[in-house]
């Protein structure tokens, strides 16, 4: 078991390095850097001015070297101007270059400086991530239990009226992407054209004080899309369990139906959905980006859109590191959890 976890963690770190390198490579392509130089310096810069600006920031080194510096595995670049002053990534203004640390990258906790928000990337990511965490907490609280109940009820008696109706509901929710259901919810519940005005169409105020009025619609929008998929997986797993030999034995023995479902079937049927819920995270991240844009909730997904749209390279890198790590860690948990939950799987 220890070796298995160790190997999985090793693969995870390798994947994380590869993915961050890809993002790093793509954000550091020359046209992006040129745009950065022009937005930071002056829009009418000549090509030479752009080149010298980039040279000064150390952007013109080879990509692998820049990447290692950014991660914090190589000493960072320092630029010596003609008058002898030394500038570099690690040297904050007013600091003596000799006192500055040689390594400053992600590993050392130096995440860079956002050119759009004019703030440290690490603090932006932390505040935005905590906002999204609140959103995700409520989404999970709504989505997981309702999906499991839906799936178990539908899978309990395959082909029954409940099964067919609930399956249709599940299919409909998986066919409704967030930008459709969100628009429908806003139209029905918050527009003055329909006139119900039960909830608010924006969640901006939910950043300070989330309550039912401003937070229900975004939570529901994300939860609905993921719910159908989890419910269908739960249903498939439940129907499979219900045809198993030990269930038939229990029925022939005369155990009542509710007891069979609750005591014999449920535990075995919930192993598969656990993996599915964990693997939903990449999709949920997608939903978060759409919903936060739609409802103007300034969380992590909203930050991603702002960073990507405004060519804010360091912030975008920080955001992608976090999102890649979230996805990989949930995959790891799902792998390990599956082994724990299902004793029939042996790892060698």
């Amino acid at each position: 078991m220890g070796l298995f976890i160790l190997r999985r963690v090793g693969i995870m770190i390798l994947t994380a390095l590869c993915l961050t390198f890809v993002v790093f490579f793509m954000t550091n392509l020359y046209p992006n850097l040129e745009k950065l130089a022009k937005t930071q310096g002056n829009f009418r810069m000549s090509d030479e001015a752009v080149a010298s600006w980039l040279e000064k920031g150390g952007y013109l080194q080879s990509t692998p070297k820049k990447y290692l510096e950014w991660v914090g595995l190589a000493p960072s670049y320092q630029h010596q101007a003609e008058d002898g002053t030394i500038t570099g990534r690690c040297i904050t203004p007013g600091m003596d270059p000799k006192d500055a640390p040689r390594f400053c990258g992600i590993l050392q906790g130096y995440w860079g400086y956002s050119s759009v928000f004019k703030d440290e990337v690490s603090s932006i990511v932390a505040t935005r991530l905590s906002l999204t965490a609140i959103l995700m907490f409520w989404v999970m609280l709504v989505m997981v239990p309702s999906a499991l109940i839906l799936g178990v009820l539908a899978g309990m008696k395959e082909g029954s009226a409940t099964d067919r109706t609930l399956s249709t509901v599940a299919i409909t929710t998986t066919a409704t992407p967030e930008y459709v259901s969100g628009v429908l919810f806003i139209a029905i519940f918050s527009s003055s054209a329909v006139g119900l005005k039960w909830f608010k169409g924006t969640a901006t105020s939910a950043m300070d004080s989330p309550n039912l009025e401003n937070f229900l619609l975004p939570v529901l929008t994300i939860a609905l899309y993921g719910m159908g998929y989890i419910a269908r997986m739960t249903r498939a797993s439940m129907t499979e369990v219900m045809t198993a030999q030990y269930i038939r034995t229990a029925r022939l023995k005369g155990v009542s139906f509710p007891k069979i479902v609750l005591k014999h079937a449920l535990r075995n049927a919930l192993i598969a959905p656990f993996t599915v819920i964990m693997l939903q995270f990449p999709w949920l991240l997608n939903g978060v980006v759409i919903v936060e844009t739609l409802f103007n909730y300034k969380g992590f997904g909203w930050t991603l859109v702002q960073a990507a749209g405004n060519n804010d390279i360091e912030l975008l890198l920080g955001v992608s590191v976090v999102s890649v790590l979230v996805v990989l860690i949930t995959q790891l948990i799902s792998d390990i959890g599956y082994v724990f939950l299902n004793p029939r799987i042996r790892i060698t």
């Binding site: 066919a175 628009v183 806003i186 527009s191 997904g301 990507a308 749209g309 060519n311």
Partner: protein
């Protein structure tokens, strides 16, 4: 000109329709409650010990659901028929029904022919045994035909890009202020915030989806199959490497990938085009291996087939990949007959790129399962080459799950295209595709609903249709 109401002269049908819908909802509710409360039907009667078919309240409730559903569908059909006959006399619904006349004709023809010959049509024919599958297929084909006829300017009432004065944000059924001869006199579904016709834009948007989504899915399948078969069949280092790559792409948040691939700066570096060069080569490789594996021992036939299939494909490939003035400019201009408009290629490539790892994983899993079968062992004993076994023994036997996943994946691709449009990535800003239209419409959603809702319902019904179709196909293919 008077503004049109929703149902015009056939408004007397509205109460009937509401009544039927209410009955349907009520009967479904009763059906569910009864099936939850009552015990299961047993073929053997408890009291008498004799076998009898029970006709309890549950069966009655199921009958009521069926009757209410039929009544509602019949009423909807009456609306459409009257609409086709009366046109604008039957209000907006009638006018739309009339505009969509080619679609109805095509649908009726398709369904009659398919049902007549369904026993000779294999899995496609069996689809018409399942009501769910038929509903799904009807929804999908409705949008396919709408897109197709819309592309040849048959259904649309106005130019989707034309802005007519005085129709900004006007409600559905608003008449044109100063119509010229031959103009359609109303904006059927109203005008958007640039005074363009919402109905025509929705119809044109269907074509954007219909032309990109299936083709992109086909390409993703080509990539997934060509890589997944050897990974599953040979296993070992190749499998480890390819699976690692697939997991790498799968762990990437899709929206981040889109933002990285589709921005103008990245397009300028030619990266999406290089990806197109790689991804579009897979169909060529696939067909080359497919034909070569089959006719390897008959060189004459082999060369003939290879030439017939591969040469046109190679020409097409070069013309598509090549774009004058970009990084991939290998063909002389005179030969470059196909010019794909800038954004479309990038969108296409990124959608294929995102979809192919999932297909890879499915094909790999199926191959690992199927390669343990006896017929594969028989082929190995006969001395067949690995690629022949993979493509002519394993692949045909994996077709069932692959077809089902193909339908689901077209739906997913449609959602992805919508996402791209929603974030304004890749496609030109005035493009009528559904995602962009929803994005534009949502900004004024608090006051005007009509610009955002039609594309939202269109996308919803199309993806729903594809999911139902996949469900029907799965059910029917499991019956074998």
């Amino acid at each position: 000109m008077d503004p049109l109401s929703w149902t015009g002269n056939i408004a007397f049908l509205d109460p009937l329709l509401f009544f039927a819908l209410g009955l349907l909802a009520l009967s479904v509710l009763v059906w569910i409650v009864l099936s939850a409360v009552l015990p299961e039907n047993r073929a053997i009667n408890v009291t008498g010990g004799s076998a009898s078919l029970s006709s309890g309240p549950l069966v009655l409730a199921a009958l009521a659901v069926k009757a209410a559903f039929l009544a509602t569908s019949a009423l909807v059909a009456v609306y459409l028929l009257l609409g086709i006959v009366m046109g604008t006399g039957a209000g907006i619904i009638g006018a739309m029904a009339q505009r969509l006349l080619p679609v109805w004709i095509a649908l009726v023809l398709l369904f009659t022919l398919s049902i007549l010959f369904k026993r000779k049509l294999g899995l496609y024919g069996k689809l018409f045994d399942s009501p769910i599958g038929m509903i799904g297929f009807a929804l999908v084909m409705f949008w396919v035909f709408t897109g197709f006829f819309g592309a040849v300017d048959m259904i649309i009432t106005h130019d989707p890009l034309a802005q007519l004065s005085g129709l900004k944000n006007k409600v559905p059924g608003t008449p044109l202020r100063s119509p010229e001869d031959g103009d359609f006199l109303w904006y059927l579904l109203g005008g958007d915030n640039l005074a363009r016709d919402v109905f025509s834009r929705m119809v044109k948007g269907a074509w954007e989806v219909v032309k990109i989504a299936p083709l992109a899915t086909v390409f993703a399948f080509m990539v997934g199959i060509t890589l997944g078969l050897p990974a599953g069949y040979f296993g070992g280092k190749l499998d480890t490497f390819l699976s690692f790559l697939a997991n790498l792409i799968l762990a990437f948040p899709v929206i981040l990938l889109f933002y990285l691939l589709v921005t103008p700066e990245i397009v300028q570096t030619g990266l999406p085009q290089f990806m197109a060069v790689v991804l579009f080569a897979f169909p060529l490789i696939f067909f080359f291996v497919l034909i070569n594996a089959r006719y390897r021992t008959q060189p004459q036939k082999n060369y003939l087939w290879l030439a017939v299939v591969l040469l046109p494909m190679l020409a097409l490939y070069l013309m598509v990949v090549n774009a004058p003035g970009s990084k991939v400019d290998i063909l002389p201009t005179a030969l470059d007959r196909i010019d794909i408009p800038g954004g479309i290629l990038v969108v296409f490539v990124s959608v294929v790129f995102v979809n192919s790892p999932t297909v890879f994983r499915i094909v790999r899993g199926l191959t690992m399962d199927i390669k343990t079968r006896d017929y594969v062992a028989a082929a190995q004993t006969r001395g067949e080459r690995p690629w022949y076994i993979m493509l002519w023994e394993v692949l045909p036997n994996a077709r069932g799950p692959l077809i089902v996943d193909f339908c689901l994946r077209i739906g997913y691709t449609t959602i992805l295209l919508g996402t791209l449009g929603f974030f304004g990535l890749g496609l030109p800003p005035e493009s009528p595709d559904w995602g962009s239209t929803i994005n534009e419409g949502r900004k004024l959603l608090a006051i005007y609903l009509h610009p955002a809702l039609p594309p939202a319902f269109a996308l919803l019904s199309m993806v729903l249709g594809l999911n139902l179709l996949a469900d029907g196909l799965r059910e029917e293919s499991l019956k074998d």
